[in-house]
């Protein structure tokens, strides 16, 4: 155990440093845009992993928390001038409370039924966003002022850089929290729930409490990301923010990299997001993009349900074992 602690810190630090210099290596804004999106995807998949990976509950409802975070931030920015870089962190706490309540209801179900009920969470929030138009401006969407700080708007050439940094900070915190949970009693409880919920209960784990907590925490970072994202785009609309595809993306990324592992979702995001941008750049439109996206998900589910990281780990372990065996002889 002691062995892993230092490398985790080192990895986070390494990631941070690479992220810190990345916008200066890549002065092209389009690629800076992709870096922001990639970091955000890593945040969302890592955060989803807390309930979806550790506890094994496949939530497709997280897009609702993403959208809710985005709307709260956009609204408070427009009405009170709260800066999204600060307000995102606090407003996401409200989203977390909402997620506690939603989780308390949804987590009574299991398996497929849980997936279905979480899907309906997204649809309900989407309809609310469409219908409560004196708050959300309905289907017309909401715009925010151009990004800036203290009344000074960031110049177009530099605009993406603050977003790279704040997403980077968010990602490092998310990974740290995820790591901390994994090595805590709480995390062990979650994994016990994933392995056998009945047994977990019988050894005295308050499974409902654990699950609801995990659900809420995993909603928190997704909501922060949503808040920052709404400022990044300066335009949001219900159909786009409360999109079930956003949830599926988180799931795909986490599964691709390795569901339930610490770094799997990050790895998955670094593969998927640039790939998605490349596909869109090459073929344009959304149709081929959908096909490729669905195709990857299908292939991963059928042939590599473990994900990349565990597959590599397995392979290395087997090799190490074989080597140990041969050296023993």
């Amino acid at each position: 155990m002691a062995k892993t602690r230092i490398p985790t810190y080192a990895l986070i630090a390494g990631l941070f440093v690479v992220g810190l210099i990345s916008p200066w290596i890549v002065p092209n804004q389009y690629y800076q845009h992709i870096i922001v999106m990639t970091l955000m995807a890593a945040v969302m998949a890592s955060s989803w992993n807390i309930i979806g990976g550790y506890a094994g509950y496949t939530s497709l409802g997280h897009a609702a928390f993403f959208g809710l975070g985005a709307y709260l931030v956009a609204w408070t920015n427009n009405h009170y001038g709260w800066h999204p870089f600060i307000s995102s962190w606090f407003l996401a706490l409200i989203v977390m409370v909402v997620a506690f309540i939603m989780g308390w209801i949804a987590l009574r179900t299991q398996g497929s039924a849980f997936v279905v009920v979480t899907i309906s969470i997204v649809f309900i929030f989407r309809l609310l966003a469409l219908n409560l138009d004196n708050l959300t401006n309905g289907a017309q969407g909401m715009t925010q002022p151009r990004p800036g700080w203290g009344g000074v708007q960031w110049s177009p050439e530099m605009m993406k850089i603050p977003f790279v940094y704040i997403m980077l900070v968010l990602l490092c915190i998310t990974i740290f929290v995820s790591w901390w949970i994994r090595h805590s009693k709480f995390g062990l409880g979650l994994i016990a729930i994933r392995e056998d919920e009945g047994k977990a209960e019988s050894v005295g784990i308050d499974t409902m409490l654990y699950k609801v907590l995990a659900f809420g925490i995993s909603a928190y970072f997704v909501a922060v990301a949503g808040g920052i994202y709404s400022y990044f785009l300066t335009y949001i609309d219900p159909g786009f923010l409360f999109d079930i595809l956003t949830s599926v993306t988180m799931v795909l990324i986490a599964i691709l990299g390795g569901r339930g592992t610490l770094w799997g979702p990050v790895l998955g995001a670094f593969i998927m997001q640039p790939l998605a941008n490349w596909v869109i750049g090459q073929f344009g439109g959304t149709q081929i993009h959908l096909t490729v996206f669905g195709g990857i998900l299908l292939l991963v589910m059928l042939f590599m349900p473990q994900g990349i990281l565990p597959t590599i780990t397995d392979f290395l372990q087997r090799r190490a074992k074989a080597r140990a065996a041969s050296s023993a002889v």
Partner: protein
């Protein structure tokens, strides 16, 4: 100037949530429309619930099957002027084979279907939506037979011919489905598998065969549903999302795996949806489905007529 300020100054006139009591005539007219549309929903949901009953998987690609069926019907109509209802005779057998193949070569490979089937079939739905978009573009389509705007008037109530025909066709397909389930050996095997998979296996039922057959049957009902959909609604590849949401809500309310439950739930939701549009506003009618879905799962997870959703099939 904050952008939010000008956002507020344009408040559209509020008509939301202003409950206006409709006249008795309008109420009955709406009830009729709701029942007609509910019949078509019932057909669409029947395959989904059957598949869950036998295999314990939720086929999220069901909506994509519906839309594919609608597109084939559209093409048959444009090319050969084939009536959408007649074209069921062509689409249903094709889809039966398609469903068989999908189950045999994709779905039967999944381990732990209860956990992962949703994601796998979701992926399938995305692939299908994408391919449909590439093939047919995403423009809205609808099939317009000569009677597409006709309606029959009975005692001052208007019954649109397309919906009436859709209801009738749905009824016939459901009756055929019932006949297959109740009167044939295969049907008995299917019902035995739904009740207890292991016991059925011990009794000599070839579960793999039954599964493929059921999935084929489910796809065939989707084809029929798609053909009817094509003349009642306009559709594009992205519509599959709306339809899967509706049909899922129906089978959850009815009790997953229960065919009679799905039929009753479809009628209830069809009527509720139309009533909401009349009494409150059209804007809220889609939410009826999700509200029912949510409440069912909390209050009565087994639905109207089903057993409790089991953790392991």
């Amino acid at each position: 100037m904050q952008a939010g300020d000008d956002m507020r100054c344009r408040q559209p006139a509020k008509t939301r949530l202003s409950m206006s009591l409709p006249s008795a005539h309008l109420l009955i007219q709406t009830l009729i429309l709701g029942l007609l549309v509910g019949g078509v929903y019932a057909l669409m949901a029947s395959g989904l619930t059957l598949i869950f009953g036998v295999m314990k998987i939720i086929n999220v690609a069901h909506g994509a099957f519906l839309i594919l069926g609608a597109y084939i019907t559209y093409e048959l109509f444009q090319t050969f002027h084939l009536d959408p209802i007649i074209s069921i005779l062509i689409t249903a057998p094709i889809f039966f084979l398609l469903g068989w193949v999908v189950q045999r070569y994709i779905l039967s490979r999944i381990e732990n279907p209860e956990q992962t089937s949703v994601l796998v079939t979701f992926a399938l739905a995305l692939v299908m939506e994408g391919l449909l978009g590439v093939t047919f573009q995403t423009n809205m389509r609808s099939v317009t037979p000569s009677y597409s705007t006709a309606a029959i008037t009975i005692a001052s109530y208007r019954l649109p011919v397309t919906r009436l025909a859709g209801f009738g066709a749905a009824l016939i397909v459901i009756l055929i489905l019932y006949y297959v389930l109740e009167r044939t050996n295969l049907g008995r095997a299917i019902r035995a598998t739904i009740q207890d998979k292991r016991a059925a296996q011990l009794m000599g039922v070839n579960v793999a065969m039954v599964s493929a057959f059921t999935f084929g049957l489910g796809a065939a009902t989707a084809a029929a549903g798609g053909s009817l959909l094509s003349m009642i609604y306009s559709f594009n590849p992205a519509s599959q999302g709306d339809w899967i949401a509706k049909t899922l809500s129906i089978i959850v309310l009815g009790g997953m795996g229960s065919l009679p439950g799905a039929l009753i739930a479809a009628l209830i939701l069809g009527v509720m949806e139309q009533l909401t549009a009349i009494v409150i506003t059209l804007y809220w009618s889609p939410i009826v489905f999700y509200i029912f879905l949510f409440i069912t799962l909390i209050v009565r997870p087994q639905g109207l007529m089903g057993e409790t959703v089991r953790e392991n099939g």
